[in-house]
Subunit: 234 residues, 2 copies
Amino acid sequence: MPDSRPIAVLGGTGPAGMGLALRWARAGQTIIIGSREAQRAKQSAEKIQQKAGSQARISGMENSAACAAADLLVLTVPFEGQATLLKQLKPAIRSGSILIDATVALAAAVGGRASRTLGVWQGSSAQQAAELVSKEVKVAAAFHNLSAELLNGSDALDCDVIVCSDDAGASQITLALAAKIPGVRAIDGGKLENARMLEQITALLIGLNIRHKGHAGIRITGLPPEAYRAAVES
Amino acid sequence: MPDSRPIAVLGGTGPAGMGLALRWARAGQTIIIGSREAQRAKQSAEKIQQKAGSQARISGMENSAACAAADLLVLTVPFEGQATLLKQLKPAIRSGSILIDATVALAAAVGGRASRTLGVWQGSSAQQAAELVSKEVKVAAAFHNLSAELLNGSDALDCDVIVCSDDAGASQITLALAAKIPGVRAIDGGKLENARMLEQITALLIGLNIRHKGHAGIRITGLPPEAYRAAVES
């Protein structure tokens, strides 16, 4: 994947989107922060630029403009905003785009606890996303379980990223993107329907964070070395 | 917890039950293997004795007799056998007993895939167990995510055990039992309702094992040291 292929982080002004954008900007990727308001997107892009350094390539745009400017899209919005945003963006998302969904249907979306999930008719937030975009968009699910606070720091993360998709190409790109985050090992988790299990883990980790006061992540142990894809230390 | 307090592993002739029994027998616990047939229980107990050594205290009994002889019960049956067994054992389980449920509602129970789960009305297999026993029985959920094959070996496990229970005493006992397994770190996962997330992880790990040919486990990272309980190396 060439570093010049821009990644649009939609709804990217929140902590998870900013953190992912920061890590990818540091890794040399070209980043577009998308937001409902172009001005807010630009402000977030400037903040990330300050942290990532002047060589980082990062800009901010309204979400639809970001979709027009990129075909590699990462969705980092709270569940309550996911469906509305995707319905609105559907005409703007280019055919053949890859949409990486990091949404988790936390019960917080309807005023409940972030340590519980809602049942999603389609099976998972990622499958809801797949239903809401055109069939020519390839959907992957990933990045549910990375601590936003740790992403926004400088240390390597102690967490694996499991990637689920029904499209082999989208899986490969998403695995490569995950492996660009220092400390992350990317693991192919199979079909998009498996995203529902990844989303449950987020709620579990949030509960552990509340109970034990930490920034929990997960590591998958016991797989052969070739199952893990990690950044080559430079 | 005194080592002489016997642990009855109900439905303990399967790989998961045998593996847990082996590890606890090696750690000095007194073990009773429970099975529908006393003879089968005795055979399994002998097999474990051979692996654990002559100093190990282990016997085999029919499940009801095992319940009469112990108030620390570990349930390791496939989901399709859980409800029937608990209804049958309800009169035999002593008031005040701790029942540790390791059941996962895999779709394999109804001829589906072991990498998918069934929806359980009560929320999880563990909550179904709690509904099926008397109110005086304290239910905990744990040990869903330990590889049976690795448990039956000799190496330390590379896996954490998250314990969920509504009873603080049952949680503490279960955490202590988990920490007796070499390599395992035990983590308090809060209320019994959280077991549904642990059960999802089992299906995820089974899917990863099928895809990548391994014996997957999980580690929880990012919690403060006091959140982890592990065996003191002797």
